[in-house]
């Protein structure tokens, strides 16, 4: 069909045309009255619809799908409660800059503002947790608005964009022509970095005896892991990453320092605390990363490359700010570094590398084996058995941190976690989204007993669509991370963190039509993992772990990064 040919279409049909033109072949959603016309039209297309069991799950699934596929995730929900149920998912995608388009139904335009049945002002509610949002009030505007929504979601610093579509708009027939690519005069992300600024970086590298690269989610979003790896190797600079940046640089590379931050490795945090040059790429200096900002990298010149100018100098003063796309910046840096004069300085850096190795040997990530199952042991074996190739999603809490510490990522798009919002209930629906995006791969949700119950209903979704996601529950019968804070900072007053009353997860899995397995002793860990991971079904593995194990190292909130509590 010619693009510029005019046709008479309903709003719902226009939506389908735009979805197809954006290459959308899968959406996650849940129907209702306000979107019944859209669902009717959807059934006539070959777009795959995954029926979730709660709209929060739809957004997390679209988020997981986006991260695993590198494209934009889409969800479709009804007005009122359907829309409000998406808010947590949207906030999580917003904090992590994930491209998701959320389509919400709305009451008919003539009822808007009347407190109509299932009416909420979802545009008002989500204004501060979307990159942008729209209420479509004119059927003529629908096509252009939708095109713009997709463009905004994926371009610049990506993020969720919501389009609220009143029921009558979906039914109105209007002339349709495929809109041109969006071109907004008020939205022009800066992709090309300033070359002068990049030259300054090269000069700093030529002079630095103790450099560190700090990579974040921006490297993954801009698909520049290859460029980052080349850059670090050429410039001989060790690399740390934020939780969101895990996989941006190979975890098996000798230059890898491990994760930075509150539960970062000793050597990563010490390296940042002692470096003389910190090259931050695609990060936003979250407080969980910096610790006390005044003592963050106190002796370092800081270079910050990011596509979002608001991230630069928000929390941390910077010597060389660079606004631009990480990939383009790294590409140019790689060209420039070839001509840089590094011979001498790299010799001088030997002392720095020696110090870093000592930090690694004196305080490696470690734990003590006990009679009970240690959570770290479970993740270590998960890593070994899957040869580090699984796509890992996580819930939130200790489980998330152990996953980040003990599973090592060589590639981007393999660690999918709710970093900025820290949203319990993320992992299972995100795993579903990732599995839909990458059907041939092994997808594992590393979960806590608390978090898994926040979106456990999505097990039904996984089973319905034969999605063989694996859930590894590190079951400590506690809201463990909160309990850890209570133990360390509140004199062990375990106020309301004991979860003694959870369902029998094995029976629960079976009730949903999934496979349930349990390990209660260390020697059962490997057999259960083997059996579970080899199954072609949706599987829950309940590992009853040491109840009061803590995540270490730990930088207490607000303390300097180098002042860690150790095992």
């Amino acid at each position: 069909m010619e693009n510029n040919e005019k046709r008479l279409l309903t709003g719902a049909q226009i939506l389908m045309e735009i979805l197809k033109s954006e290459g959308v072949d899968t959406i996650f959603g849940f129907p209702g009255g306000a979107v019944i016309d859209i669902y009717d039209e959807l059934s006539k297309t070959d777009i795959r619809h995954i029926l979730v069991r709660h709209e929060q799950g739809a957004v997390h699934a679209a988020d997981g799908y986006a991260r695993a596929s590198g494209s934009t995730g889409v969800c479709l929900v009804t007005s009122g409660p359907g829309a409000t149920n998406t808010v947590t998912g949207i906030a999580s995608a917003y904090m992590d800059s994930i491209p998701v388009v959320i389509l919400t139904g709305q009451v008919p335009t003539h009822l808007i503002g009347n407190d109509a049945f299932q009416e909420v002002d979802i545009v008002g509610i989500t204004r501060s947790c979307t990159k942008h949002n729209y209420l479509v009030t004119n059927a003529e505007d629908l096509a252009g608005t939708l095109k713009e929504a997709f463009y905004l979601a994926r371009s610049g610093r990506p993020g969720p964009v919501l389009v609220d579509i009143p029921k009558d708009i979906a039914k109105t027939v209007v002339q349709f022509t495929m809109p041109e690519e969006s071109n907004l005069k008020s939205y022009r992300p800066t992709y090309n970095p300033n070359t002068k600024q990049l030259e300054k970086i090269i000069t700093l590298i030529e002079e630095s005896e103790k450099p560190v690269i700090f990579a974040g989610g921006g490297v993954i979003l801009s698909k520049s892991s290859k460029e980052l790896t080349e850059f670090a190797r050429k410039a001989k600079i060790p690399v740390t990453a934020s939780l969101m940046g895990l996989g941006a640089f190979p975890g098996s590379d000798p230059l890898w320092l491990g994760m930075i931050g509150m539960h970062g490795t000793f050597r990563a945090n010490m390296s940042v605390g002692n470096c003389d040059l910190l090259i931050a790429i695609g990060v936003r200096f979250d407080d969980r990363v910096t610790g006390k900002t005044d003592s963050f990298a106190p002796n370092a010149k800081i270079v910050h490359i990011d596509i979002d100018p608001t991230s630069i100098r928000k929390n941390i003063p910077v010597s060389v700010p660079v606004v631009g796309d990480c990939r383009i910046a790294l590409d140019q840096l790689n060209q420039m570094i070839g001509e840089a004069n590094l011979g001498n300085i790299i010799k001088k850096r030997q002392r720095w590398f020696n110090r870093i190795s000592r930090w690694k040997t004196t305080n490696p990530l470690s734990y003590k084996q006990k009679e009970t199952i240690m959570p770290q042991y479970v993740i270590e074996n998960l890593f070994k058995i899957t040869k580090g190739k699984a796509i890992i999603t996580t819930e939130v809490g200790q489980n998330q941190m152990w996953a980040a510490q003990y599973y090592h990522f060589d590639k981007p798009g393999h660690f999918i976690t709710s970093g900025g919002l820290g949203c319990m209930g993320f992992g299972l629906p995100a795993a579903i989204g990732a599995q839909v995006a990458r059907p041939g791969e092994l997808v594992v949700d590393i979960a806590g007993d608390g978090s898994i119950q926040m979106n456990i209903q999505e097990l039904a979704t996984a089973v319905q669509y034969s999605l063989p996601v694996k859930v590894v529950i590190l079951n400590n019968r506690y809201l463990g991370m909160v309990r850890q804070w209570q133990e360390l900072f509140y004199d062990k007053r375990y106020s309301c963190t004991c979860m003694d009353h959870s369902p029998d997860f094995v029976k629960l899995a079976e009730a949903y039509g999934a496979v349930g397995l349990r390990a209660t002793k260390p020697e059962e860990v490997i057999p259960v993992l083997r059996k579970g991971l080899n199954s072609d079904k949706t599987v829950i593995m309940d590992f009853q772990i040491e109840r009061e194990e803590n995540v270490y190292p730990m930088v207490p909130a607000g303390a300097p990064l180098t002042e860690m509590l150790l095992v």
């Binding site: 545009v123 008002g124 204004r127 501060s128 990159k131 942008h132 209420l135 905004l152 907004l184 005069k185 008020s186 939205y187 979002d308 100018p309 608001t310 100098r313 928000k314």
Partner: protein, 159 residues
């Protein structure tokens, strides 16, 4: 870090919800708005918003960046220096007892204000000017008894 007063002027899409995005950004990020002025420009599709805020140097840098990031903000400038003009208007309802009427009229005259309503015991005065002028006339009229006052907040342009 000391806070200073800053005047920001921006062109925005004249669409529902845009003002709310701008204002929401201030409240959501913990910045205060001292005054706010919004109206259509010569192009009915575009409005001008003028905001007066107090912020530290890094605070105002962050506010500017965040405002620029809003999709509906077309152009933003911080207004300051001799190349800019700033004005505000006030309507002042002042008590005017017999013995004070002449004095009030003299003050209004000096400030090039206008009397736009007269009653047996009050005037309503219209006055425009920069911030300094406004506080000067308000201070002079205070002893007479200002019953109510309505100010527009600053509007600004570059010359």
């Amino acid at each position: 870090m000391t806070e200073e007063k800053h005047v920001l002027t921006m062109l925005v899409d004249n669409k529902p919800g845009v003002l709310s995005r701008v204002v929401g950004l201030f409240s959501g990020r913990g910045f205060n708005i001292e005054s706010l002025c919004v109206a259509e420009t010569i192009d009915p599709l575009i409005s001008r918003i003028t905001v007066v805020t107090r912020a530290t140097e890094s605070g105002i840098e962050q506010i500017e960046k965040q405002l620029n990031k809003l999709i509906n903000v077309i152009k933003l400038r911080k207004v300051s220096g001799p190349k800019s003009v700033q004005r505000e208007m006030a309507l002042i309802y002042v008590m005017a007892k017999n013995g004070q009427r002449a004095e009030i009229l003299r003050i209004v005259d000096i400030f090039r204000g206008k009397i736009i309503d007269v009653g047996t015991d009050h005037f309503v005065i219209e006055v425009t000017g920069d911030e300094e002028k406004m506080s000067a006339i308000i201070n002079l009229l205070k002893p007479m008894g200002i019953k109510k006052i309505s100010r527009t907040g600053t509007i600004a342009l570059f010359r």
